[in-house]
């Protein structure tokens, strides 16, 4: 039902038409959501808001494209409030610029923030009679700065005019309160107040502006996501209080004093090291167990850092050989691992050979993990794939009969009905795959991804199919041929038709939907070719020289000066390269 309340705009012209229609009538709320559908939390928040405000404002939805570039090339906001209602009369069709003034919402799209934002748009200026400390704004505005302006009865009208102007300037940034009774405060300059909020916003850790600056220099933009995220947080110094700084002097005593020391060896110029260091500190902050968390700066303490790969995490116990942590380098996995390491360790029995190469710790780690990957591999014939466990299943080398589910945005299946629905479909798929396990005719591994718990699955699906199909969606991938098959989204997923579909694939009558990428991972960016730059800017500098005539390297005659046995006359060299 709500979908009717919401208009959709993809192009700038779409929006202009909507704005024109809204002139003098209603304000417009333009929202950008990454994708449509119930799996998208943004979309869901928006629809909830539409439910409340739908009658008051015109809601417009976009999923990107040129419109987004037009609104906000820097991508700093996801929602804009277009102030069309107060504009005088409907815009004539010939109006050169039908645009309404707009206010971006600075916060990420969530139901609470969107409510607050709209409330702020409605009442940018509130008149109060109480003492400022007793003013309690609506709960949705708790995160919004409040600016109190004070007025006297004698100047009420001009003050209100000033306050209204200021409220307009600060819309979306602050909530203005106009009160009375204070005698000593004078507002002399509106710009100072506006500047105060803008400065606050800049200083408040908003990265958008920095990013904008960096975008000006494409070549210098970090295209390595790990390096980029580490670089982006360069202003935040890591709080090393929770970890012991280990060095050559204190290492041995520090290890001897604790029953367990977990040590991270890192290099500060290695982005992966620094990304892991911040996770490591997170774990140290959370950890209540009696474990010493230590870090070794291998740029400094080279004698402690025989390890070749950085970063690495070692478990050290007094009088025992160090044990290398071989699990996922993330706070969740590391935290679990350390908790397990502090209790009595017993290896979970698992007969499958493919797990033998897993370290004891990582098997245990996974035993404790959601749903238990070990159990999955050992026993489950139809596992849920997650970021953490996918490698174990890919190692099996079997094609994946992959079901994408995710009937709710939350991570856990709160909704009993949805869960049952999912289970039912999973059963059908398993049945079609021949009971699962290696007994399946084609060795397909039936498995599933929950898009709520594994958001990266959304991108997987989008990459497979080019767009998001209705869920649940069934895909056959990881075939040796690299081909991909998407089970027709219009039909219900029942064992019989899935089987039929699989037979079609086997017979070659079912056309592949796509193929897996096979780009060989060539360099990500073009080479900055210093040689061609040299050839262009300094012709001859990089040119091979003609075979040298024996001139004694160009020594000129007559010189034999020297001190300490190391001097000689000036050689003839290229005038601008006297060094090497």
């Amino acid at each position: 039902v709500l979908f009717d309340e919401v208009r959709y705009a993809q192009s700038v012209a779409d929006l202009q038409a909507l704005e024109r229609a809204a002139w003098g009538r209603s304000d417009v709320v333009l929202a950008y959501v990454q994708m449509l559908g119930v799996v998208s939390p943004e979309h869901r928040s928006l629809m909830e808001t539409v439910f409340v405000y739908g009658a008051k404002h015109q809601f417009v939805l976009t999923t990107g494209g040129p419109l987004l570039e037009h609104m906000d090339p820097g991508r700093t906001a996801g929602v804009w409030f277009l102030h069309c209602r107060l504009l005088p009369g409907p815009a004539g069709s010939g109006a050169p610029d039908p645009r309404c003034p707009r206010t971006p919402m600075r916060r990420p799209l969530s139901t609470l923030d969107l409510h607050g934002f709209l409330r702020l748009m409605e009442a940018p200026l509130t008149e109060v009679r109480e003492d400022p400390s007793s003013v309690h704004p609506h709960h949705t505005l708790l995160q919004t700065p409040q600016l109190f302006l004070f007025s006297r009865p004698s100047t009420e009208h001009p003050d209100r005019a000033v306050a209204t102007t200021l409220a307009w300037r600060l819309r979306g940034l602050a909530l203005l309160m106009l009160g009375s009774g204070v005698k000593y405060l004078t507002l002399t300059n509106l710009e100072e107040v506006v500047g105060l909020f803008n400065a606050q916003e800049r200083a408040g850790g908003h990265e958008e502006e920095e990013e904008e600056e960096e975008e000006e220099r494409d070549a210098d933009m970090l295209d390595d996501e790990v390096a980029e995220s580490v670089f982006r947080s360069r202003g935040v110094s890591l709080d090393m209080d929770a970890v012991t700084l280990l060095n050559s002097d204190n290492f041995l005593p520090a290890v001897a004093e604790h029953s367990l020391t977990v040590a991270l060896f890192y290099l500060k110029w290695d982005a992966v090291s620094m990304a892991v260091l911040s996770k490591f500190i997170e774990v140290a902050d959370r950890l209540v167990a009696d474990v010493q968390m230590g870090v070794v700066d291998c740029g400094e303490w080279t004698d402690l850092c025989a390890a070749q790969a950085f970063p690495s995490v070692l478990l050290l116990r007094p009088q025992e050989t160090a044990q290398r942590y071989r699990g996922m380098l993330g706070s969740e996995a590391l935290h679990r691992f350390i908790l397990i390491a502090t209790v009595c360790v017993c290896v979970y029995p698992c007969g499958h050979g493919e797990l033998d190469h897993l370290g004891c710790g990582s098997v245990l780690l996974h035993v404790l993990h959601v749903g238990s990957i070990t159990l999955d591999v050992c026993r489950r014939s139809q596992p849920e794939l997650t970021v953490a466990n996918l490698p174990s299943y890919l190692a099996l080398g079997r094609p994946l009969l992959l079901l994408f589910v995710g009937s709710e945005e939350e991570e856990e299946d709160d909704d009993e009905w949805a869960r049952r629905e999912t289970q039912a479909v999973l059963r059908e798929v398993r049945a079609a795959a021949g009971g699962g396990g290696e007994g399946g005719a084609e060795g397909y591994l039936p498995c599933w991804i929950h898009l709520g718990r594994t958001p990266a699955g959304v991108s997987v699906l989008r990459t497979y199919l080019g767009s998001l199909p209705p869920l649940p969606a069934l895909v056959l991938s990881q075939l040796p041929s690299g081909e991909l098959y998407h089970y027709p989204s219009h039909g219900p997923i029942v064992a019989r038709s899935v089987l039929h579909w699989l037979e079609g694939i086997r017979d070659g009558t079912e056309p592949p939907t796509g193929t897996m990428g096979d780009d060989g991972w060539r360099p990500a960016a073009p080479l900055y070719d210093f040689l061609s730059v040299m050839d262009h800017e300094a012709p001859g500098y990089a040119r091979p020289s003609s075979p040298r005539v024996k001139t004694g390297e160009g020594e000129e005659g007559g010189g034999r000066e020297g001190g300490g046995g190391e001097r000689e006359a000036q050689p003839s060299r290229p005038p601008w390269h006297s060094e090497l």
Binding site: D218, D223, V272, E566
Partner: protein, 709 residues
């Protein structure tokens, strides 16, 4: 029966004589060693350490009673100008060696020169003490008092050997001879009046001996300036004369050029305080003595001095006594003139010097027209070739006017296989460019030579570290940020990376001039993927060393860097000897397939993600033809499910269950993830959601054209 005892007797006599002969043979047999090291200076001791560590059969032979005897005499004014910087703010020992110019390499972290002296410019006496400590703590095999006067090569059934004979007639037979005798012989120049000069080796170091004297010093190197500096406060005038203008180390980056620590005379010259520098040839001049009261036709013959001195080996402490006496004897003062003006044979032979024999007669403003009380030669030292028999004598170098032995890029004497030159005498390889003539440089070349020896004679390949390509970037950054060898021996020793698919072998500090011989010298084959060479280099040096624009900060301008900075050369095949000969002027290596300069850094910390890390990574990606970016586990998850193979980083980490977890909630798919074929038209749809960091990079670089590798 009579005959039997006689026969027995004869037999016994024969047997006895045979035994005696055998014993005598054994006694006469020279001491046999696999390695003989000639000279217990810093280079010899450094070589001794590596030989001892490898458990080799070696001996260090030293003619004096203690190590480093050069430092007992030189520098004459007893201050070392090699930097002993013991406070660097860092605890990385390798890094600290970048600023420690005196220590030798060893595995003992505390066996550093700072144990002996904490002075930035330490006293010279400290050096022999350090060498004694070094030899003692490492238990090096040194024989003192063995003055080898003759070296010859012989062919034996087991191969070429070097026979060393000392002054006592003892012989040493060596399979490999490491010559680390340094430079001892003062440089001589044939000009009339040489005998009227004094020399650096013997001139007084007491400034009071120079009170109110005018002094001409021949030479403009550190010894000349060191001498000048000590007498500046007493001498009336100090002039330095030599063919070439003074070269300042802080301008040329060559530590053999004039160091600021010795250059006070530049001040007194430029502030016109009676001292000065003059350029002119040395072979054309003459020094003559002329009495001040001499008229245009002087009547008193100048004192005639005997010939200069004999050549040959050995310290020359006594030699100066022959020279310079001219100053004291006979009165009169010394003039610098041109040999051409002494056309009169009588004058050359010491007869009277006429006014017309002096330049001032012809050019009334000739710079050096005033007489001097003393003329001191400070012209440096040469290698002592005289102890080498023709069979074992390396030729004279082409550079340095032949003062040094000519050696191969791996420091083996030209034409003398098995004889290697180490230390200062090996400086012909990087004469006037790098640090191979100085302790802080040759300690690394000695190690390189030892690695060549280990490969050639013991089959031990050049040590190497296997790395996966995903580790290479971080490994190279580590080396450029801490390695001392390539930093000190810039342009000479470089790290070599052999590239083979997803693996590589990392070799440290190979002498890059020997690159064409890498397989035989290092025992490593050059794989299909080619190789990378990492060297440190100073730059074009076109700008004023202290002027504006002396450094670059844009990474795209890195090739114009003036200060020391890392440079990587990529070759798809091993360069040949011909390639080496044809290398561009001033380059340490031939034109490569691709080159990468890392922008010079004020702090020499090449760790900036934007200026250093990313440009390096992109260069490596092109050499290896692979994507070397790091990815969070979430991205690896996506790429593993949507590609036949995820990128190398995901293969190495994530698929091995060692992914790097990102912020799962904040994770966004990378932009350049093209959907599988068949959905190309949809790719734009996904783009708005993509993070800004993944926009196509490098596109703003107008000159960066894609290279076909």
């Amino acid at each position: 029966m009579d005959r039997f005892p006689a026969a027995l007797l004869l037999f016994l006599v024969l047997l006895l004589s045979a035994v005696i002969g055998l014993v005598r043979a054994v006694i006469d047999q020279p001491d046999r060693y696999d390695y003989c090291v000639l000279g217990a200076g810093p280079a010899g001791m450094q070589a001794g350490h590596f030989l001892a560590k490898a458990n080799r059969n070696y001996v260090i032979l030293e003619r004096n009673s203690g190590p480093g005897s050069f430092f007992n005499i030189y520098p004459r004014h007893r201050k070392l100008i090699s930097i002993n910087k013991i406070y660097t703010g860092r605890r990385n020992r390798e890094f600290n060696l970048r600023h420690d110019w005196n220590s030798l390499l060893s595995d003992r972290p505390d066996l550093l020169f700072q144990r002996i002296s904490r002075d930035l410019y330490p006293p010279a006496d400290a050096y022999p003490r350090y060498l004694s400590l070094f030899a003692e703590e490492l238990g090096l095999e040194v024989r003192y008092g063995v003055d080898v006067g003759r070296v010859r090569a012989v062919q034996t059934p087991s191969g070429r050997r070097y026979l060393l004979t000392d002054r006592k007639g003892t012989e040493y037979s060596c399979r490999v001879l490491l010559v680390s005798t340094g430079l001892w012989d003062p440089q001589k120049v044939e000009f009339p009046g040489w005998d009227l000069t004094e020399s650096y080796e013997s001139v007084s170091v007491d400034p009071e001996d120079f009170v109110d004297q005018a002094v001409l010093i021949l030479g403009k190197g550190n010894s000349a300036f060191e001498t000048a500096q000590s007498i500046l406060g007493r001498a009336s005038r100090v002039h330095l004369y030599s063919p070439s203008p003074v070269r300042l180390a802080w301008q040329t980056h060559y530590v053999g050029d004039l160091r600021a620590v010795n250059n006070e005379l530049l001040d007194t010259y430029q502030l016109k305080s009676l001292d000065g520098l003059v350029e002119g040839g040395l072979e054309d001049i003459a020094i003559v003595r002329r009495h001040d009261d001499q008229g245009p036709h002087p009547s008193t013959p100048p004192p005639r001095r005997r010939g200069r001195r004999a050549g040959g080996a050995g310290p020359r402490e006594t030699e100066g006594e022959e020279r310079g006496e001219g100053r004291k004897g006979g009165g009169g003062r010394l003039y610098l003139t041109l040999a051409d003006l002494l056309d009169n044979q009588d004058v050359r032979n010491g007869s009277r010097v006429a006014a017309a024999n002096l330049p001032a007669y012809h050019y009334d403003n000739f710079s050096l027209r005033q007489p001097y009380d003393r003329v001191i030669t400070c012209l440096g030292f040469t290698f002592n070739f005289s102890i080498f028999d023709g069979s074992a004598r390396p030729p004279n170098s082409e550079v340095a006017r032949g003062r040094l032995p000519a050696v191969s890029p791996w420091y083996e004497g030209r034409g003398t296989p098995g004889l290697f030159v180490l230390g200062t005498a090996a400086h012909s390889r990087d004469y006037r460019s790098s640090a191979g003539g100085f302790i802080h440089g040759f300690r690394y070349t000695v190690r390189a030579v030892h690695r060549v020896l280990e490969q050639r004679y013991h089959g031990n390949r050049w040590p190497s570290t296997p790395l996966s390509v995903t580790q290479l970037h971080s490994w190279i950054l580590r080396r450029v940020n801490e390695a001392s060898g390539p930093y000190q021996m810039f342009g000479v020793l470089g790290d070599v990376v052999l590239l083979q698919g997803s693996q590589c072998e990392y070799l440290e500090e190979f002498p890059v001039q020997a690159l064409p011989r890498l397989p035989s010298l290092a025992g490593h084959r050059v794989p299909q993927g080619g190789l990378l060479v990492l060297v440190m280099q100073y730059g074009l040096n076109r700008s004023d060393s202290l002027g504006p624009g002396r450094s670059e900060s844009e990474w795209t301008q890195a090739w114009r860097s003036n200060f020391l900075h890392p440079v990587l050369y990529y070759y798809d095949r091993l360069p040949t000897e011909r390639d080496m000969r044809r290398r561009p002027a001033g380059w340490p290596l031939p034109r490569p397939k691709a080159v990468h300069h890392m922008i010079e850094d004020f702090l020499t910390e090449w760790d900036g993600p934007v200026s250093h890390g990313q440009p390096l990574r992109r260069f490596l990606e092109h050499c290896l033809q692979t994507d070397l970016r790091a990815f969070y586990a979430e991205t690896c998850f996506l790429l593993s499910l949507t590609h036949r193979r995820p990128p190398p980083f995901c293969q190495r980490g994530y698929l091995e269950r060692q992914g790097v977890a990102g912020e799962a909630r904040a994770w966004r798919p990378p932009r350049d993830e093209a959907p599988p074929s068949g959905h190309d038209s949809d790719s734009s749809e996904a783009s708005p959601s993509l993070p800004s960091y993944l926009s196509p990079a490098g596109t703003s670089v107008s000159l960066g054209s894609k290279l076909e590798l």
